[in-house]
Amino acid sequence: MASYPRDFRFGGFVVSLIWLIFWILIIVALVGLPLIFIILFYVPLPEVDGEVLTPYLFLTSILYPQSAIPVIETLLDTTFFKVAVFPGFTYAALIAAATIFIERKFLAKMQLRVGPLYAGKIEGILQLLADGLKLISKEIIIPSGSDKLIFWSAPIAFVATAAAVVALIPAAPGWVVADIDVGLLAVFAILGFFPLIALLFSWASNSKYPFIGGLRALHQLIAFEIPFILSALSVVILSGTLNLTEVVESQIQSYWFIFFLPISAFVFYISSLAELERIPFDLPEAEAEIVAGWLTETSGMIYGLLQLGSYIKTYALAALFVILFLGGWAGPQIFPAEIIPESAEAIIPVSELYEQTDANAAFWFTLKTFGVIMLMLLPRGISPRIRIDILLHTGWYKLIVLAFINMFVALALIYGGVLGPGGLLVR
């Protein structure tokens, strides 16, 4: 942005400053304050130490930082925190961002090259930020004759659906956005939206290659939902509940289900690769055949949103794998009971926020999820793309049979009294 700088005049500078202050005051007075009062009128204020949190109480925390601790504690308990930070959107987005970066580096090492190197001082760590900024700054081109409503709303729906799946995943005991008794069923119900979104978006693109890609996405995603559900059904049989938190609890009581259901875990893994449209199942986005499949007409932030949604879905399905088969957050306790011993007398007892079980659970959950994500990234460097008829043949014939086999094994374990209530292996 090289523009010719005009001569600096101090008077003009002062005038612009006063103009700025004037506008800030106007907006705060006429818009901000009424907004605050309306919000305070309707929003139920949290209770802090038996007192209602008033703005006065809130502002005193500036002078007495230790009084902010109970505020933060109540904040940590709210649903809003769970939705926005952990295990909600921020957590998922951070994992998604880390996944993208790790994928590029991991893949590069497998392919005897380096990957992103120049963005950021250490090994290209800011590459993702650079890509995000690039995508935001690009022009969004809408093809003529396309259905504008669907074209604009489908990427947003994609991210929203992916985020909805994330909302059902418990990352630590008690830390789940939506604790539904039929959690697993809800996950599958929400996953059923993705083929619809792909098809609608490809239709709205008004072009031949996206059309082919959308049909392929439809075939692939629907065909692999069945082995997906069947393999998860074995877990439901063993644990006796659809609630995801209780599934993990039952694994903590006995052993991780992957030891009893290895075939189901394998089927689940393959089906989740197909649901995520990852290589070797990336037919809907097959580059050499149908340009970019149903993503052909996306540009700029629409493409960015679709990629974000795709990686959030990756995290969600990997987390689901961990919960169903790898014991969720179960793991040996490696965190100390208190971070800083005898800190209750400190000026700012931050360590009161620290909860041992929650930290441990979050740590193990994140570690296992990353492990599963790396496993999902691995086939990208190894295999070529599969063909649609081989894909459907595999999905319909082979995977369903395998899932059934393991379901019978699970049933046998239950009836044999090995697992289930009062079973032999239940601690």
Binding site: I212, D282, A288, G381, P384, R385, I386
Partner: protein, 386 residues
Amino acid sequence: MTSIEEKFEESKRLGLQIVKESEEDRLMTLSVGPQHPGSGHFRFVIKVDGDYIVYCDPDPGYVHRGEEKMCEYRNVIQNIPHLERPVIHDSANITYSYSLAVEELVGIEVPRRGQFIRAIASELNRQVYTLYWLAIYGIFLGHSTMFMWPTGDREVIIDLLEALTGARVTHAFNIPGGVRNDMPEGFRDRCLSQIRYLQKRFKEYEDIFYNNPLFRQRTEGVAVLSKEDAIKLGVTGSVVRASSVPFDVRKAEPYDIYNEIDFKVQYMKTGDCFARSYVPLLDMQESCYIIEQLLDKMPASGEVRAKLQPNPKGPPGESYRRVESGRGALGYYIVSDGTPKPYRVKISVGSFRNMLALPYLLFGKRLADMPAVYWSLNYWPVEADR
């Protein structure tokens, strides 16, 4: 499997086996055009019925430069730089054939050491081209590692070529009369050590790429080109060798010193995409042996280039010489009328001949097979357009 005649008729009538003429509205026309990540600088129009291709019409000419016409305006030495451009990766072979034809017309005798160096450059370039072709095959199949590894290994050979000729890709090394300059010191040992490295890598390629079940699933049994069809269509190079016709110009009509070199003509009998993708790898391994022998048998010193007049010209005549390049038999038909500039140069490239197999092979195949089949025909779009 229907014979080639029947397929020819059907592909003209838009595939009556799959779609009746009255249902032509069901077909969708796709232009796999120059702006397509799956086609290169080449366009072909396909009509698709659901997932099956019923019609394919190649439409080359996107990068047509008029090489043959340009040759008539320059003398025989000036033609070398622009004749390299049709296939930049394999530039030693496309100028090799030209040099042979010109030498026959003008009557130049190439010194022995020059012949050996020419052959070494030709073999190295053949490997460069085949590795690049393999890399693009990986992209077409969606295998990104199959793109990265051959491209990385290609650098090894390109460094060798840079040491030998001075340029990486279009080096204008072969001229009528020999090569431009001699080998540098230490080239022999360096070349041998890099050849060892490449031989190890080719074994790894076989393990990782060719024994990959998904790769085999996608290429085995797909688009079988029978021996009779291959001969009738006149395809050449690795395509015809994959259909059990063991034809290699270096063996059939040895040029320069190829009759002193021991090597096998690698061919396979199945004729499907897998064979067409495997024969180039076998060719590359064979090429390594040939380079070793060439380096052994080379005379230790000597001229590398015959002395030429400033504007070499010979008596009026015609000549046709061919060379085995990465794509197949690359032939030059040169008519000379006694002046320094050729009267007519016709380049018969392997890609142009192999392009004929594309409509026949694509008929009745799935859309997903299209890149696999198209690239397995060892087609280089720029060369076919000249």
